[in-house]
Symmetry: C2
Subunit: 432 residues, 2 copies
């Protein structure tokens, strides 16, 4: 049993109190959610870093993926991206490196002050040479290494089993598998004819995760890679398996979250989110996107923000950043920034609904007042990305209004018509 859950048997652990404070929640409420498995707090005890609570009632969190690939293998650049992600509000990082000195890159990402996740099978396949050449011992060895390095959560595609492969064949999809980890497991099963060891030896896996206090992120290896494939049965077959594994993991005392699709039509996001939540007893749900159309490569950060916002409305707790270069290329730092910002805005929009009216008004009133007062400094302060807003506003000079309407500014006209007085703040700034 994870020590956090063990500590819960005798009172409210410090980590929960700390997260509750950050979330603005009563510690008792967060405590109950953790005990019920509806909130997960990833924190490998080998590292001391900022953590966060992920799940029901908490702010929606955003993960940002970085990592080397064979075509673009520059660990310095990946570290730079990770920093840029954190500077722009990323709550967690995942290192998806699949080339170069993978352990060294991982350790550099682990040096950062945030929960970090990995996908051990990427390194295992790299070391084996190919997915077909993988062996179970190597995979478990790599998993242990990630745990002892201090990784907080591991994506493990335990639901990609022989049954799922059969369903892929009986109810085929245009794109059979688009999850990299999922594809490795399928290739391995097809080559060996044997069951996925992460599924077959799930209890052994739980022992490792228990020993190292590492959270399991139950990967969605069968996620649809096209909205056209979203209604095929492989996805739901995997949901059912993940639901069973989620219950087993939590009853073992292992904190977990569930990964969800993927490419899903806009009007199907809601029921997919609710279905996964139902099948997993409300485990925290981590979504990749979802992307609600395939046809906007180059703008998948916007597509993901649209899908992510609606997903949060239905219960998603954790969004994975999608960069503008998704499906096209390894992202550059500026694309990580744009993707992180789009995901954070979607998550925040989700929060405005999840946290309720009073919370929303508390968050938003300052900007409305700042706009009423034409108080630009306060507007930049209230903005989620105020520095960027300032750059746009000030490029046309420091104006009382903005260059869109200028002197015909509706706010200025109405202030005069309604006799709204300048605030002390404005007078103090010598604008009278």
């Amino acid at each position: 049993m994870h020590s956090l859950l063990k500590e819960c048997q005798t009172g409210i652990p410090k980590a929960i109190r700390q997260c509750a404070k950050e979330e603005g929640l009563a510690p008792e409420r967060l405590f109950r959610a953790v005990v019920l498995g509806r909130v997960t707090i990833p924190a490998n005890p080998l590292r001391r870093h900022r953590t966060c609570a992920i799940g029901e009632g908490c702010r929606v969190k955003v993960n940002v993926n970085v990592g080397t690939s064979a075509e673009r293998c520059n660990p310095d650049l990946e570290v730079e991206k990770a920093k840029a992600a954190l500077d722009n509000g990323a709550d967690t990082l995942m290192d998806l490196s699949s080339a170069g000195d993978i352990p060294e890159t991982r350790r550099r990402i682990l040096a950062m002050d945030a929960p970090v996740g990995t996908v051990p099978i990427y390194e295992a396949v790299r070391r084996a040479g190919s997915a077909a050449d993988l062996d179970t011992d190597l995979l478990f060895r790599v998993i242990r290494e990630h745990c002892t390095d201090g990784v907080d959560f591991l994506t493990l595609h335990c639901g990609v089993n022989l049954e799922a492969v059969e369903v892929l064949k009986s109810d085929p999809r245009i794109l059979p598998v688009v999850s990299r980890g999922g594809a490795f497991h399928v290739a391995w099963m097809l080559a060996s004819g044997e069951e996925n060891p992460l599924y077959a030896e799930f209890d052994y896996l739980l022992e490792i995760l228990d020993e190292h206090e590492v959270v399991i992120s139950l990967g969605d290896g069968m996620r649809p890679g096209s909205v056209c494939d979203a209604e095929r049965m492989a996805k739901t077959t995997e949901y059912l398996t993940l639901g069973k594994l989620s219950k087993r993991a939590f009853s073992y005392g292992i904190q977990r979250f569930i990964e969800g699709p993927g490419h899903i039509p806009f009007d199907q996001v809601g029921h997919n989110v609710r279905m996964i939540k139902e099948l997993t007893d409300g485990a925290p749900l981590y979504l990749l996107g979802p992307l609600v159309t395939d046809r906007a490569p180059g703008y998948d950060h916007i597509v993901g923000a649209i899908g992510g916002a609606i997903a949060c409305l239905h219960g998603a707790d954790f969004l994975c950043m999608v960069s503008p270069s998704e499906h096209l290329a390894l992202p550059r730092t500026e694309e990580i920034v744009e993707g992180t910002r789009a995901a954070k805005i979607a998550a925040y929009i989700g929060d405005t609904v999840r946290r309720g009216h009073e919370w929303q008004m508390g968050q938003e009133t300052g900007m409305a007042e700042a706009r009423r007062d034409l108080d630009w400094e306060r507007q930049f302060g209230e903005a989620i990305y105020g520095g960027h807003a300032r750059e746009i506003h000030e490029r046309d000079g420091v104006l009382e209004t903005c260059s869109m309407c200028g002197e015909l500014c509706a706010i200025r006209i109405i202030r005069e018509s309604f006799g709204i007085k300048k605030t002390d703040r404005e007078r103090g700034a010598g604008r009278d």
Copy 2:
């Protein structure tokens, strides 16, 4: 009565057949929607240009605003922006010029091959010197001039009446009015104590619009300018007035659409859209945004895309582009491009739901197949903005996969595992 509606009395007009063809709809279906006032086709007979059908059952359309302001008055730049908007898929344009030679700028925008809208009160106020100095004759004179110049639809804030001003006072908002046209009317009413002439003399206004075959866009001068103001009564008071005016206009034979908010919390977009639709007998609904948070200036194109997509799900027919510089500055050309693309993607996502499953599959299958086949040329062809996608993909060289996963590409691995053969197309490209 608009000649389009008159022609409907004897059969299906040519304009309807043409639009039906573009929409992939049966002409009879579009005909019924036009006759019932649920679809509007703006087309001033003084110009010959491409038009489009806006409303129920049709593709969601996107409008792009351009126009000079006192602080940034460069008609050449506004024409450049209008061209960029059309190049990126804008369905209509609005010229919101409020400085310089307004009629000349308007005529240059009207020379373009798209339906064009304006807001006559901007020019009227500029000519009067201020909103308080406006007189009724001048406003109607400007309206006539816009009609005779060939404008297709006019935004007229007929619902901003004395009753709405009273409600503004009795149920105050942080930002009383943020619509520029709305603010002019309120200032005018407060200065004169008299009713808004566009409301008081609505029938006269309809006569002008009838004579010139111009569509009325019933402006939402009371739209909330902050999500914090969305539940105040001014907005709904105006909805009720617009509902009555919409019925009067259509029973007079004038085609119309309705403008809707504005800043609305994410979970309130749906019922606002449905409420306006209900009150206006399903008139086509044109939304500004909606913006579902105030706190992301610099990223309002993304906020607007999130709000717009959900609005389309509930029945919005026509989205106004929001640029990244909204609330901050007059947009640059590149921001018009980004804003147009974000809005078009949101509109398309709305379409994927509105047009039904078969239509969606027809739109999306090509990209799924192209991805399965690692056929990049076809992917760029299927992408809404393929040129941009190509730029991102090819910056890392022309690769078989993409530089995200490289040789560990899930699609490539699964193709090999499943023995998916290369297509003729791929072999033809000599990739074997």
